[in-house]
Amino acid sequence: MAEVFFFIAAIGAVCGAVGVVMVRNPFYAVLALVFHLLSLAALFLLLQAQFVAAAQVVVYAGAVMVLYVFVVAYVGAAEPTRLRAPVGRGQRAAAVLFGLALFVELAIAVLGSSLKAVPSDGPTVGAGFGSPAQIGELLLTKFLLPFEIASFLLLIAAAGAVVLARRRGGIGTEEADRVAAMDFRLPPGLGTMAEAVGGRSSREPFELGAGGGGE
């Protein structure tokens, strides 16, 4: 019975992961991730980590993903137009290769591991294993410092997010912020990194007065 659940949850997790990677529309990617997270929660339950599973569903799938959805809605799902020539043509192939290599290595490490406990089900644990009581006790005794630091981290992240995403100067100044992307493209010959590395600019040479700059 547990095997069946395991396979369902595992396949769900993998499908969700693949979905995140392959789906074009970011909305759908977020949804795929949610599906994946729920499958993971099932896996956690199978591993007797009830609290973590619950936290996963409530916090991760519930709060974080909702946040994601909001931002995706704000930003929009349109595929931006390519302003420059595609770079890294071999990128996709290299990426798959690296990922595959990584998986193979990790698999070898896992399956070839000499840890005797790995290919087993693990020791029998009591009923309170993974319960909120146990986690709570650990958090407040042994792991008090990490707990407190994690809460600080949350505070800092919240403050940081506010700082990053705030508007400067009120609602009506959005127009002033409106800076064309093209304006950030410096005239050629001024030594931007992109030029140096060979990125071709798709604009005509900038006329700096009587004939473009000298040699």
Binding site: V20, V59, L67, L83, V87, V96, G160, A161
Partner: protein, 99 residues
């Protein structure tokens, strides 16, 4: 199921997440793939916690959860800031290492 299956699942999800990070151009999706990788680590942690019979791995997994949440916060904040500047939301386009 024996624990090595869970670890293999973790490895697989991690690899898929890596491929996603290296392949996608939308920073939002890249962040999502990053979440995948973090979750794969979580699976491994929980599996090992079960292996040792000791809940410390689960505590670790909760902390990872917290960190992931913070990171998503900041990452999304950055994306919103980029969007506000009317720059294209594409990591290939945002390449000038200055300014």
């Amino acid at each position: 199921m024996t624990l090595d299956w869970y670890l293999v699942v973790s490895a697989l999800v991690f690899a898929v997440g890596t491929i996603g990070v290296l392949t996608r151009r939308n920073p939002l999706v890249i962040l999502l793939c990053l979440e995948l990788m973090l979750n794969a680590a979580n699976i491994a942690l929980i599996a090992f916690a079960r292996m040792w019979g000791n809940a410390e791995g689960q505590v670790f997994a909760i902390v990872v959860l917290v960190v992931a949440a913070c990171e998503v916060c900041i990452g999304l904040g950055l994306v919103v800031a980029v969007y506000r500047r009317r720059l294209p939301i594409d990591v290939d386009e945002i390449r000038e290492l200055h300014g």
